[in-house]
């Protein structure tokens, strides 16, 4: 169902699946272009969670989805504030954050029961990737402190500065990290699958979605004790 939540800058839509009671998994898609490449996968994951008796929510953040705010009008702190408002809307004690890729940068400032990250990426690494994409279509090199056009998203200097400094492990509290087995970085669990966020054409990996739904469901139940 479509729900709504209010933050200081307006009202945003929030896609919800699963039961009306119990814990809620609050999903944060990756920022920018990777969001388009993982939305189908995330929605499938949420339906699978519902099938396992666990509710989930996927909010539009300022500058994303149906939001009336343009991406160049917003900042990472505002997106984080909106995430906090979404947590309040759902009831803080029920919420388990689920950050996919750079979506993991959005939850540290939201008060949640626990966090689960899939292939999280730090802000500095993200900026390196964005600069490379911005430069791919240009002859002159992009500067990392000026407004940047990346795949149709205009990032202001303020957004760029915030992204560069953003980290996924700012807060204490229960955190589980899952990565693909092709990724050498440390994780609590490695799983087989393809990095859908790298694909130019949106793809899907049903086996990976099922595996991750099981992992999230077990993690949420363990945290709820």
């Amino acid at each position: 169902m479509i729900d709504w939540y209010d933050w200081s800058g307006g009202r945003e839509a929030m896609l919800r699946f699963g039961p009306a009671t119990g814990p809620v998994v609050l999903v944060a898609l990756p920022l920018f272009e990777e969001a388009n490449r993982t939305r189908t996968f995330a929605a499938a994951l949420m339906r699978l969670l519902a099938g396992r008796g666990i509710a989930s929510a996927l909010p539009d953040l300022p500058g994303t989805g149906e939001s009336l705010t343009q991406i160049e009008e917003t900042t990472l702190s505002e997106m984080r504030a909106a995430m906090g408002a979404a947590v309040d809307h759902l009831g803080a004690r029920r919420v388990h954050a689920c950050g996919i890729r750079s979506g993991a940068l959005l939850d540290p400032h939201a008060f949640v029961r626990a966090r689960w990250h899939f292939s999280p990426v730090e802000g500095e690494v993200l900026m390196t990737e964005l600069l490379r994409i911005a430069q791919a279509g240009k002859s002159s090199p992009a500067s990392d402190d000026a407004p940047m056009l990346v795949g149709g998203n205009l990032l202001t200097a303020a957004m760029v500065a915030e992204l560069k400094a953003a980290t996924t492990d700012a807060d204490p509290g229960p955190l589980r990290i899952v990565r693909l087995d092709s990724d050498p970085r440390p994780a609590d669990r490695k799983v087989p699958g393809v990095p859908l966020w790298r694909r130019a054409e949106p793809g899907h990996d049903p086996a990976l979605a099922a595996l991750l739904a099981d992992d999230i469901a077990a993690w949420v139940r363990a945290c709820e004790g």
């Binding site: 390196t128 990737e129 490379r132 994409i133 430069q135 791919a136 279509g137 090199p141 795949g151 092709s182 990724d183 050498p184 970085r185 393809v194 990095p195 790298r198 694909r199 130019a200 054409e201 793809g203």
Partner: protein, 92 residues
């Protein structure tokens, strides 16, 4: 020497996997890639945006860093050239 050859096979496997996963190529198609298989300009899937994805994913999987001034047509010319470039970085 034997050790390095072993490492080279690992890198080649990683390059194959990256091209398969990032460009959405079939397992059979990448399995048929050899030293001389042309890449940039020959694979329609490998446009300049996809190159960015391939390089970043190679960095992730091989824990290497690729500088922008190292990226040119030569390293992307063939499967062999890309694998040698990645191996020079990863097996240093």
């Amino acid at each position: 020497m034997a050790l390095q050859r072993e490492g080279f096979a690992e890198v080649e496997k990683a390059v194959r996997g990256v091209l398969r996963d990032v460009l959405g190529l079939s397992e059979a198609r990448v399995a048929a890639f050899d030293e001389s298989t042309p890449l940039f300009g020959a694979l329609p899937e490998l446009d300049s945006l996809a190159v960015a994805g391939v390089l970043t994913e190679l960095e992730d999987r091989l824990a290497i860093l690729i500088e922008d001034d190292e990226v040119d047509g030569d390293m992307l010319e063939s499967f062999g050239a890309l694998t040698r470039f990645a191996a020079d970085k990863a097996l240093r």
